[in-house]
């Protein structure tokens, strides 16, 4: 048995395949397109009081002030994002228009280390799936570091001609746009390269002060692109990732020819965002830490298995989506209950995606041997799977935890959203089962329920940029697939329409809604499309009413 505190930090081993990059050579190929120096400021009561604007078409970089009125009206986070987006786009702007922006914003509490869950940032853009504004919140170090580097938000407009990296260097007070011709695109390698490249020293402590936002090859070729926010783990010695998944923000990112967005901070401490009352904040935070310590193991068990604990609950309440939402529970579901993942997760290492988040729902499978595709045989650290990913897999009828981890790994590194991919694939599988799609119509893929091989093959083909008709339609999600099936006149129109679980063009997240009218209404009415974080507002409303 391993006791806590027995292994010193330097001696943790993941067993991953080691990569060595010639970082200097990679960097020497970079060409600086624009450089901007700014005066480093301090954060006052949670606000850095300015935002950063970057235009990739014209290579302009400028600062915008955050006014008191703006703080009062919009608070931060999504509010700031919507305001900045509103000011920049026109009614005719579409996801791939020049003036569409990608925003990453933070709120006044962002970067608090004492209170669990304070590392979140918000990402906004016009979504390719829905053509309306979509927002996602995400963990990782980027949001807090952006604030400590001196900005409450970053907005990126325009499109670059070649792959570029934007570097926000909080150490020297510089913003740099540079080309990145030789870097990897897929996240698990790219974030490793860039963390190494931009860390000021070759130490783990220095690497921990860098965060990289990236998307992969899959984001480029589908509408499911997600943004991967890195955070360097000093014990595992790898940059790990959290995803802003929904709505295809990664697709917008790659459409702008962004390879990565890097932020680096000089130093920070527990009061870097200068709260008005740090003593009270520390007290409240400590109380919550204590409650988590005493109660989490009896309640959600987040510290041990993360959101995966929901699988058994959903299965028991008939809400676990199975075979494209046809069932809410399944006899085989016990194979993917959280204890099965607990066996795979690496233990006794703090897993929080921002310093001090003791709820620590981000789990990893270390030294996982990849089973398919271009990285077959490599040993990697896989972040997750979380509930939504497991739900997406049960929706496709995968009942083997290892295939779920494999699906999770490739979705992450290719930069595609596990929820949209899972829900869409489940729909294609149902259509396949009815004979509306078949092997010939699916470009040779045998999409029966549970065929994990075919799903992974599908992902690899997307990443390779396969131009087959099925692949190019299918990678744009359920809505486009319905239209394509209608156009070809296959099957019964009503079945085709009803079986595809989407609203506004965005696929449902992984909850069966039949048990709750409020949930159904919520999914249909949420502004950005059916997503559980917007849904909660409707659920709480239904309780009040």
């Amino acid at each position: 048995m391993v006791f806590e505190g027995q292994v010193p930090i330097e001696e943790y081993k993941t067993g991953n395949t080691k990569h060595s990059w010639d970082v200097a050579k990679l960097k020497s190929a970079h060409k600086i397109l624009a450089e901007y120096s700014y005066k480093k400021g301090s954060v006052e009561r949670g606000f850095a009081n300015r935002t950063l604007y970057v235009n990739l078409s014209t290579n302009t970089i400028k600062e915008k002030p955050v006014t008191d009125d703006m703080k009062k009206r919009f608070t931060g986070g999504r509010g700031f994002g919507l305001k900045l987006l509103w000011d920049s786009i026109k009614p005719t702007t579409r996801w791939n228009s020049e003036e569409n922006e990608l925003l990453i914003t933070t709120g006044p509490l962002c970067g608090t280390t004492q209170y669990p869950g304070s590392g979140k940032s918000l990402c906004l853009s016009i979504s390719p799936s829905t053509d309306i504004i979509c927002d996602c919140n995400v963990g990782g170090f980027f949001g807090p570091y952006l604030k400590f580097a001196g900005f409450d938000a970053v907005e990126i407009q325009g499109k670059a001609k070649k792959d570029v990296i934007i570097v926000i260097d909080g150490e020297q007070g510089k913003i740099i746009i540079e080309t990145a011709p030789n870097e990897e695109i897929n996240t698990h390698l790219l974030s490793e390269q860039l963390t190494e490249m931009y860390a000021s020293e070759k130490t783990d402590k220095a690497r921990q002060k860098v965060s990289v936002v990236s998307a992969g090859k899959g984001a480029e070729n589908s509408f499911w692109g997600c943004l991967n926010f890195s955070f360097y783990d000093i014990r595992r010695k790898v940059p790990r990732i959290k995803q802003a998944g929904r709505g295809g923000l990664g697709t917008v990112f790659r459409d702008k020819k962004m390879n990565a967005l890097v932020v680096k901070v000089e130093k920070f401490d527990g009061v870097s965002n200068h709260p008005a009352d740090p003593v009270a904040l520390a007290e409240v935070g400590t109380t919550l830490h204590k409650e988590i310590r005493d109660l989490d193991r009896y309640q959600c068990n987040m510290r041990a298995v993360g959101t995966g604990h929901l699988v058994e609950i959903m299965d028991a309440y008939d809400l676990l989506p199975t075979e494209n939402y046809r069932f809410g529970s399944f006899p085989k579901a016990s194979k993917i209950y959280s204890p099965k993942f607990y066996e795979l997760f690496t233990k006794i290492i703090p897993d929080g995606c921002w310093h001090g988040c003791t709820l620590a729902c981000a789990k990893t499978v270390d030294g996982y041997t990849v089973m398919t595709g271009p990285y077959k045989g490599e040993k990697v650290t896989v972040d997750g799977p979380e509930y939504e990913t497991i739900g997406a897999c049960s929706n496709m009828s995968f009942w083997d935890p290892l295939w779920i981890v494999e699906f999770n790994f490739y979705c992450d590194t290719y930069g595609v959203d596990t929820i949209s991919t899972g829900t869409s694939m489940a729909y294609y599988m149902e259509m396949y089962e009815y004979g509306i799609l078949n092997k010939e119509r699916c470009d040779g893929l045998e999409l029966c329920f549970g065929n994990a091989d075919a799903v992974l093959e599908f992902l690899h083909r997307i990443a390779k940029g396969d131009k087959g008709e099925f692949i190019s339609v299918a990678s744009k999600g359920v809505r486009r697939m319905k239209d394509w099936i209608h156009k070809n006149g296959w099957g019964d129109q009503k079945i085709v329409e009803d079986a595809g679980i989407e609203s506004k063009g965005l696929e449902f997240s992984e909850y069966v809604t039949k048990e709750s009218l409020a949930m159904q209404g919520g999914y249909g009415l949420t502004l950005k499309g059916p997503q559980h974080d917007s849904l909660q507002r409707f659920l709480s409303m239904s309780i009040i009413m």
Partner: protein, 151 residues
């Protein structure tokens, strides 16, 4: 790397204690250059009806795994030490210490803890405190949640 096998921890002879709190004052001098004691001291003496109790770190090192930035390390002499320059003040170690021995004072965001320096031992006029060498392996075999909260 050689791992320490023993560590010096404080042992308390409650029958000798008179409750003068000289140990607390000495401790706060080490940590904060003030002789306030109380919340600025890593060692705390409380009186439960007639018996005095000591609350102090037992160098078990559960907090080592809580620290997200690696500010807590076990030194060569076995003592668990917090590096204030690395600490980012998240209070995870404070909240998760099973015996409440990781302490936080209002004057700084970084917590502090007993470093087995022996200042309290030297300050005690009754010789109620003693530093004793213990195998680390034995300290670690403590059941996590049977502990009572400290002060």
């Amino acid at each position: 790397m050689d791992h320490p096998t023993t560590v010096k921890i404080l042992t308390f002879h409650s029958e000798k204690c008179k409750g003068c709190l000289e140990c607390e004052k000495a401790c706060s001098k080490v940590h904060f250059k003030s002789s306030d004691g109380k919340e600025k001291s890593a060692i705390r003496i409380t009186k439960n009806k007639i018996v005095y109790h000591m609350h102090v770190c037992n160098q078990r090192g559960l907090c080592l795994d809580m620290c997200p930035v690696g500010a807590l390390t076990r030194r060569k002499n076995g003592v668990v030490l917090l590096d204030k320059n690395i600490c980012i003040g998240c209070q995870a170690c404070v909240g998760f210490c099973p015996i409440g021995a990781m302490r936080k004072s209002d004057v700084q965001i970084e917590p502090f803890k007993c470093i087995s320096c022996g200042a309290c031992v030297r300050a005690c006029p009754e010789h109620a405190l003693e530093l004793t060498e213990r195998p680390i392996q034995m300290i670690k075999e403590v059941v996590y949640h049977n502990y009572k909260q400290g002060v």
